[in-house]
Amino acid sequence: MINNFQFDISSLLFVIPEIFLLSATIAILILNLFLTKNKQLVYYLTQLVLLVTGLLCFNLIGETKAIIFGGSFILDDIALIFKIFIIASTMVAMTYSRHYLITHSLFVGEYFVLILLSLLGMMVMVSGYSLLTMYLGLEILSLSLYTLIAIARDRTIAIEAALKYFILGSISSGLLLYGMSMIYGVTGSINIIEIAEFVANTGIKSNLLVINFSLVFLVIAIAFKLGAVPFHMWVPDVYQGSPTSVTMFISTVPKMAVIAILIRLLTDGLEYMHIYWSDLLIVLALLSIAIGAVVALKQTNIKRMLAYSTISHIGFVILGFVTGVISGYAASVFYILVYILTSLAAFGIIILFNKKGFEADKIIDYKGFSKHSPWFALMMLIVMLSMAGIPPFIGFYSKFFILQQVVAEGYVFVAIFAVVFAVISSYYYLQIIKFMYFDQSEKTAIFSAPMDIKIVVSINAVLILIVGLFPDFWIELSRSLF
């Protein structure tokens, strides 16, 4: 216990974004009851709340690093930058979702409330500095996500996805708790600082066995939440079964919060155990890259294909942590930022293509896409080339920095392995481009989506190109975090 029986009221200043978010969410929840006609108001209020929360976080930039609430909350650069990115990507995801929700009659107030609550969970995770708050944040996030998937309760495939996610998610939470309880049993503390001190000073020799044992459980739980092979079984089914707007949300924002937990737990708390956890991570990374690349080749559903593509990207992110050096972690953070930017654009275009009673989730639906909407075909082209890692798009740089760090740390064969499978994976990205530009289709799609989505998707996709041409700012940003 850092400060026994102490509660400093001024520490609330550092949690203002979270307090505002929670209060506003409850206000929206109550307001939603009285809004019978004009549900659009809930959407605009949600966006407003997100904006204000983001600004409140922005306002805290420049504060010195603070650890409050008896060590269970941390406010540092990683927390703030991650929070701002999480909020910004949630705003973009909400913009894309609105039209989809209306056309698929899922536009209910609870959807937005649950999104806001899951955001709260992610902010808690990102700022969590004790095992207890990390776990609570993760559960707040997961519970909201389970419900968001099942919110399309008339679709059996969505219910199936929600149940699968729920059961497997509960098991992984159990593993996480078990690992945490072992760490607590050995170190006698749940605070990351005290755990790190214990491991650094006294613990590592006499308690190596138990710490290693708990490490396995912690890594498995994190790998499950990230969807890394061999804990990826839920990913394709959940991505396919969920409503596309929820798939977009699940596949992007939560990954970042889990990465934050990985940074706190492994690189802060168990830094001295690096030689042990890097071995675990290297297996996860290589399997993810390989399975993600090979299995995606056979998919006919674009959501399943993107699920395997996510698995492969997560492999690269984990690879950055294998290196165990600060520049490697920075490369991983950069990769996850780029992944979220690209993935949001991909799902944005898929959602744009959606119509009432028509889910554009088959890859062959994109045949002849360039004929009837050349602009968005171009946007999709940018997204796919970036995902495949072809310069000058940003996806090239993110892969490049990871591989650079991996080679610098002497893992040459690992880098070669990753590159070979990255080349294999480019097949299915290029296949979509081939369908869009070189195949004919008798169907003509008419976009019913409103203008705001079209504009944001375009900005999002063009950003992939622009950031790819001038990547310095983002690289410096992710380096400055460590």
Partner: protein, 205 residues
């Protein structure tokens, strides 16, 4: 000291046996009863650890409220045993093998070698005027106020989720219309139809 140790082993044995029985019982109502026994044994062990408040809460909340609800739910659901057991024997060898490996590994790692008295000194017994609840409250509302609030948010999400998933909007909900029931006339309910018994080719032989 010896008496407490005997108690510990008795309750520990009961805990393991009843949790096994809970999983293996054929009747789901019996499983719930075994689960209650498991909770009781766990609560008793907590009392031996001087965590009276937790033990009492476990019995009051879980045994008193949650398990009763469980029994209700199980009695109301029509659970088909054959589908539940259908794949059980097929997966049994694999499951037993995996469980055995995990148990052996855990026994190797988590023995008294790692958590024995030579590593951790015996915690001091609290004096008789020590209040568990006061201590817990002081901790919860000062050092642990943040996790405490988060747990409250978790419960809020559980409420929102369950209502969202079960609630039907007005059009779809099946509900009584009292005024319609009161205003109903006999002719709305009974329709007198005269049927000629000779028609339709049926003969009353």
């Amino acid at each position: 000291m010896l008496f407490i140790q005997i108690l510990f082993y008795v309750f520990g044995f009961l805990l393991i046996v009843s949790s096994l029985a809970m999983i293996l019982a054929r009747n789901s109502a019996k499983s719930v009863l075994f689960l209650i026994l498991t909770f009781f044994s766990a609560a008793s062990i907590w009392i031996l650890l001087e965590a009276e408040f937790l033990a009492i809460t476990l019995i009051l909340v879980y045994v008193g409220a949650v398990m009763v609800l469980f029994l209700f739910v199980i009695k109301m659901l029509d659970i088909d045993k054959s589908t539940l057991k259908a794949k059980f024997t097929g997966y049994l060898p694999l499951g037993v093998a995996v469980a055995a490996i995990v148990i052996i590994e855990m026994a190797l790692v988590l023995g008294s070698k790692q958590f024995g008295l030579h590593k951790f000194s015996l915690p001091e017994r609290h004096p008789s005027d020590y209040s568990n609840i006061t201590e817990l409250a002081m901790q919860l509302y000062t050092s642990y106020v943040y996790p405490f609030e988060l747990a409250a948010v978790l419960l809020l999400i559980a409420i929102i989720s369950s209502i969202t998933l079960v609630h039907r909007s007005d059009g779809k909900r099946k509900s009584q219309s009292v005024s319609a029931q009161v205003n109903v006339k006999a002719k709305d309910r009974i329709r007198v139809v005269k049927i000629d018994s000779k028609i339709n080719g049926v003969k009353n032989d």
